[in-house]
């Protein structure tokens, strides 16, 4: 049993933390987050050069990491820094289907190399209006004719969908609207005339897009009809990343709040002299440590069998949502009036923490999923 990071990982952690701390003050972050792209292309290339994208991908894809531990580690720092660059969209959601299904092909290897170098952006267009958090509910249709696949449907809230150089699109080639069988993934050129993108900002910073596909041409990734396991594993990675990101954001928000409680005075003493606030901080601390433990567990079993992987990822994501609400609300409440303002960093952390619950399944969704994958363990 060993809870310590290896030397390589410790270095990766320190690199990421330092770079984010030094180059990413909150004002610049807001500028990036509110820009048209929703992030900074320059900073993204800097992150890539430091190896933070490659750390999220396995060797066979040209990366140098990609384990659960790597993902948790990088995304904890992403969360701590309130980073809006497209780590999730490009390095997890976009790249992993390529790694898994087509990593060996020359074409994809070139793409992944460009991804790792920060030159190529991806997005996963999977969710649809009404699909909520269901992974299998796909109504977008793909049909083949003369060796050409054409895709039609609507994809919603595609993270960084507007700026992606390639879209990874899920579509149904057979089966009922909620069947796991019959799904396929395609690479779609966003400049295809059958692709219409509509971009918008997200409330916690960054951008997403709704994408309408009308007979858009797609290149299959992996065997059409058998994409569900790839989607499930990709979303498991993304959910772990989101939980780790929430953890990092909570740590930072907790530290800011602690600092505020110690320095801001009211009725002639620091606010933190109030025992109730101290005890509530302790309760936050406990739950953050619980979340950290659960993220570690999910990270360490990300490459395990399906039941274990899904169960532990759902435990972590459930807890991220449950603890997240508590922490976000306490952070605002303990800051008082200034906790409601744009000016401070703390409320932006609160927004990010809460909105992570809307990514890849909320706390209720993952509790149900945990129950489902626990049946065997009873």
């Amino acid at each position: 049993m060993d809870f310590n990071l290896s030397d390589e990982r410790r270095m990766l952690q320190e690199t990421a933390r330092r770079m984010i701390r030094e180059t990413y003050p909150i004002e610049k972050r807001h500028d990036f987050a509110r820009s048209e792209k929703g992030f900074s292309a320059d900073i993204w290339r800097d992150f890539a050069e430091l190896g933070l994208v490659g750390a999220l991908l396995p060797a066979q894809a040209g990366g140098y990491g990609g384990t659960g531990e790597d993902i948790a580690l990088v995304f904890e720092e992403v969360g701590r820094g309130l980073v809006v660059e497209p780590f999730l969209a490009t390095a997890i959601l976009g790249a992993w289907p390529l790694c898994e299904a087509g990593g060996a092909e020359a074409g994809d290897a070139g793409t992944l190399e460009a991804v790792i170098e920060g030159r190529h952006l991806l997005a996963l267009a999977h969710g649809e209006p009404g699909s909520r958090y269901s992974l299998a509910q796909v109504k977008t249709q793909a049909t083949e004719s003369g060796g050409i696949w054409r895709i039609s449907g609507v994809k919603s809230v595609v993270l960084n969908g507007d700026t992606a150089d390639d879209l990874i699109v899920s579509a149904r080639i057979a089966g009922a609207a909620e069947a796991q069988d019959g799904l396929a993934l395609f690479r779609v050129d966003p400049k295809d005339e059958g692709v219409a993108r509509r971009s918008y900002a997200l409330i916690d910073g960054g951008a997403a897009a709704d994408i309408t596909l009308g007979e858009a041409i797609g290149t299959p990734i992996g065997a059409p009809g058998e994409a569900y396991p790839v989607i499930e594993r990709t979303i498991a990675r993304a959910a772990l990343a989101a939980a780790a990101q929430a953890l990092g954001a909570m740590e930072a928000a907790k530290d800011l709040t602690l600092d505020f409680l110690k320095t801001r005075t009211q009725f002639g003493k620091p606010i933190g002299a109030n025992q109730v606030l101290q005890h509530r901080m302790v309760d936050m601390l406990i739950e953050i440590e619980q979340l950290r433990s659960c993220v570690m567990l999910a990270a360490s079993t990300l490459e395990a069998g399906r039941e274990t992987r899904e169960r532990n990822v759902s435990a972590a994501k459930h807890l991220a949502g449950r603890v997240g609400r508590q922490v976000a609300e306490e952070v605002i409440q303990m800051h008082g009036g200034v906790g409601m303002t744009w000016e401070l960093a703390a409320p932006h952390y609160a927004k990010r923490i809460v909105m992570i619950d809307h990514l890849f399944g909320d706390t209720d969704h993952h509790l149900e999923r945990f129950i489902h994958f626990s049946k065997g363990a009873a």
Binding site: P129, F267, Q333
Partner: protein
Amino acid sequence: MELSYTQDEIAFRDEVRAWLAKRLSKRLVNKVRKAQRLTKADYKEWHALLVERGWMAWHWPVEHGGTGWTPVQKHIFEEEMIAAGAPRIIPFGVNMLGPVLIEFGSQAQKDYYLPRILNDEDWWAQGYSEPGAGSDLASLKTSAVRDGGDYVVNGQKTWTTLAHFANRIFCLVRTGPDAPKPQQGISFLLMEMDTPGIEVRPIYTLEGEHEVNEVFFSDVRVPVENLVGEENQGWTIAKYLLNYERTGIAGVGFSKQSLGALRKIAQTEQKDGRPLADDPHFAARIARLEIDLLAMEIFNLRVVAAAGEGKLPGAESSLLKIKGTQVRQEATDLMRRAVGPYAAPDLPEAFDEGWNGQAPGPDYALPLARGYFNMRKTSIYGGSNEIQRNIVAKHLLGF
């Protein structure tokens, strides 16, 4: 014991309801329902209706042009306004300064200001909080120094709601810097916003909205006639207002509105091909909220009814404030949950009246995350819930 309204109260409710249905414009209701930004003109339109009907000063006694309503009637009026989708009545003039002037104002002040409030000629702002003196008003620093027939005011106020719409402001200022206790040296002063030396700067909230402001005072000269009550009597006035009957503090009407909207959303949103409202976990969340609200409505009516019998609600208001904000916040939490991924898109332009674009998801999803974050303020302003608990511990529990 009879938990329903009397015939008279029902008749009153129907009168209010009918009037609102007839007079309140669909345009305004639509803006309120869509959580769009209300302009100064919107508020003025709504206030004008109230003035016309004689209900502007709904909190005041009859002899000053008010309605003389019972607490139950006031409660009904508030509920009906909210249910009808009316904008809120800006309270600073009519509900705050008005009662203060009636109790403490000079005859000249009453004669001048009360009719102007009754006719909605002034837009008052409230200058209480300062940076570093939010819940702790006694530590405020804005100073007013007597110089001839004027006070010279220097300092800063914050959280000044809609000060950018106001032409007047009432402020707590420090006139007795050497008073033995900090709350003894405070006075209550009226000012015009266009007095030289007053500057309003916006504070942007965490959703990026401009609703509150900072107001800076540098060498602002205010005539001594604008002092309300005695010099250094400001604390007494502030406390009078704090204890002033507050029927709406629990926000029952707002929560009922939210719950109704939530139930509709949960019927519309799908989860695995069925309405979200049928999901046992989500249904349980709604039901718990609904039971809390059901109980709170009775709790609120109990306090209102007691006020009608002359029992001033003291610390009970604090209990209602705490529970009321918990319920309101929970309602907005469930709303953002209900729409799943569609809670995330943020289109600030969609909250302007002119916008006729298409929301990424369902129309109703757009304001929900904003509403959730915005509603966090309710447990902070007007004395945070922690302050309210301190008050209850002291006054009801005797600690």
